[in-house]
């Protein structure tokens, strides 16, 4: 056990809060280097925390020496450690990408408040993954939502403001429902600590708790853009600047999924089985509908955003399989991590393609392959993960899901998983086919900073190589921490 003031869990929240505030003070568009340096430190902290959790199991940090119930506890277990690692691992390359992206003359306007908002976003996410009580989770959820809405509105165009407004309203109603659920739980049991609630609810929940669970699940599903609450996601993620889309699609929607998973496995486990089939059915609908829309859209970033809707569906397929097979949890977390890396790579690549062609439509991509081959390669590699081909992390996730479905005899899900993979191949190849078209004459493509291309490539490679290192990640989930909070 390290000294309390050196605890990585506390610094993972304090550090982004500090650099967010400092970059705000530094003024519009400044502070990129500070953010990148701090994010590198955060990566090391998250890694250190993960190693510690893997070695000694879940650990609690009492903030300021004031433990629960008077103060706030930070809890780090295997699941938190994995999500923290994912967050820092995506945020660092995206920050390097963003610095190059926003120095471009066309995007300098959008950079105004990117760094403080991104810092608050990451701080809120880290705090969310470390929170151990339902009310703290509400506050972090709201901070996350507000920072994300600010980022969506960065572009400043009417369409982006409207998308941000729609996102804000969905987010506010969703967290309102969550808060009402928390109120009902506190009213029934007089506590909001997740670890204490588990045994209490296990003794036979009253009607108010059923209502609370329903409200919280619905609110979190809306925040994770689960079908049919996905309507806000394509305009918000498709319209934002590329680095913002990458952060939102790769990380922010995963935060509310993490919370669903945490509650499902923890306090609401006695109630969960009744909703399992519904969660799975909505997930399946999301896979099919999202992929279908990705096949139809004319805009490249909309395509990637619809792909997010589809890939989030896989996360919710986990729930009907959880009861039958513990591997379903690993599949879900693996899918969250693999999709996070791959989707960040895809949005980064899409940003490069739009910079190079000066257009946002698929038709505009014709012939771009000759100019930005590395980016196309990155897009293809990320596509390998999204489609679920070996050896990618996406393959591992989908393989585990199919395995869990077969073991429990739920054949229907297998069909959906495979169909989703085929549809994903369809929309990934739409982009690649268009990019490799041979166009005679001068196409007027703009040169693109090499750093943008490399960052997309790094993220895409990570998503593929993840398949080879998946065992370590899963050991972390199953290790002494066991994914269950200790009290």
């Amino acid at each position: 056990m390290t000294e309390a003031w050196l605890d990585p869990a506390a610094w993972l929240i304090l550090l982004p809060l500090s650099w967010a505030s400092l970059t705000f003070l530094a003024g519009p568009g400044r502070g990129g280097r500070l953010a990148i340096a701090a994010l590198a430190v955060q990566c090391a902290l998250a890694l250190g925390l993960a190693l510690e959790v893997a070695a000694t199991g879940a650990r609690v940090h009492a903030v300021g020496g004031w433990g629960a119930p008077l103060g706030i506890d930070l809890l780090a277990d295997g699941l938190s450690a994995v999500m923290l690692l994912l967050t820092q691992a995506v945020a660092l390359p995206i920050a390097v990408y963003a610095q190059a992206y926003f120095t471009d003359a066309h995007h300098r306007q959008e950079a105004t408040w990117f760094w403080p908002l991104a810092g608050f976003l990451i701080a809120a996410m880290n705090a969310l993954f470390l929170s151990a009580d339902l009310f703290n989770l509400y506050v972090t959820l709201e901070l996350l939502g507000l920072a994300a809405v600010g980022l969506v509105a960065l572009g400043g165009g009417a369409a982006q403001i409207a998308a941000a407004m729609r996102y804000l309203l969905v987010s506010l109603v969703a967290s309102g429902a969550y808060l009402l659920g928390v109120a009902l739980i506190y009213g029934s049991y007089g506590t909001v600590a997740i670890a204490t609630l588990g045994p209490l609810i296990g003794q036979g929940p009253p009607l108010a708790i059923w209502l609370a669970a329903g409200l919280m699940a619905a609110g979190l599903a809306a925040k994770s853009a689960l079908f049919p609450f996905h309507f806000w996601l394509p305009p918000a993620h498709g319209g934002a600047p590329a680095p913002v889309s990458a952060l939102l699609s790769a990380l922010v929607v995963k935060a509310s999924f993490y919370l669903v998973l945490r509650l499902w496995l923890g306090p609401f486990a006695p109630l969960a089985q009744t909703a399992a089939a519904l969660a799975g059915a909505l997930g399946a609908a999301a896979i099919l509908w999202g992929s279908w829309q990705a096949l139809r859209t004319r805009h490249i970033k909309r395509l990637v955003a619809w792909s997010t809707v589809a890939q989030l569906g896989y996360l919710f397929l986990v729930f009907p399989l959880l009861a039958a097979d513990g591997a379903a949890l690993q599949a879900g977390v693996m899918q969250a991590v693999a999709h996070g890396l791959a989707k960040a790579a895809m949005f980064a690549a899409a940003g490069v393609l739009m910079l190079a062609t000066g257009r946002d439509t698929l038709e505009g991509l014709a012939g771009v392959a000759g100019r930005v081959p590395l980016t196309l390669f990155a897009f293809g590699l990320a596509g390998v993960t999204i489609m679920g081909l070996p050896p990618s992390g996406g393959f591992l996730a989908k393989w585990l899901l199919i395995d869990a479905a077969l073991v429990s005899g739920q054949w229907g899900w297998v069909v959906v998983i495979i169909a989703g993979g085929l549809l994903a191949a369809g929309y990934v190849f739409r982009v690649l086919r268009q990019a490799f078209l041979v166009v005679p004459g001068d196409t007027g493509f703009q040169p693109v900073p090499r750093r943008l291309e490399w960052m997309a490539f790094v993220l895409a490679t990570a998503s593929v190589l993840l398949g080879l290192r998946g065992v370590e990640l899963m050991a972390l989930l199953n290790g002494p921490g066991d994914g269950q909070p200790i009290s």
Binding site: F135, A153, G156, A158, A162, M165, L168, L180
Partner: protein
């Protein structure tokens, strides 16, 4: 029926009214006001339900204070966005036809 339960039921009623308002109303200002009604409903449930035999529980009061801060921040952001949207498009709602001013 205890006073606490009465507060809680009134809170649920406010919450439902507010949530419906956010969804149904077209004008952004009305949506924002409806969100505040909704939030107040949740706060009322939080404070009301937690009363045990008329004794006030300080924990939910601290929670509601935090919640109010969050709601103020959210309202400020929503108002800012609504003004920005109005300045750019002259619209006061999200749908194309919403011109209620």
């Amino acid at each position: 029926m205890s006073t606490g339960l009465l507060y809680a039921l009134a809170g649920v009623l406010l919450f439902v009214l507010g949530a419906a308002g956010v969804v149904v109303l077209a004008h952004l200002l009305r949506k924002i006001l409806a969100f505040n009604v909704m939030g107040s409903g949740a706060f009322l449930v939080l404070v009301g339900l937690a009363q045990r035999e008329g004794v006030v529980d300080p924990v939910p009061q601290a929670m509601v204070l935090t919640g109010i801060v969050v709601a103020v921040a959210a309202t400020a952001l929503a108002l800012g966005l609504a003004r920005a949207l109005h300045a750019r498009t002259g619209r006061t709602g999200l749908s194309e036809g919403a011109r209620l001013d």
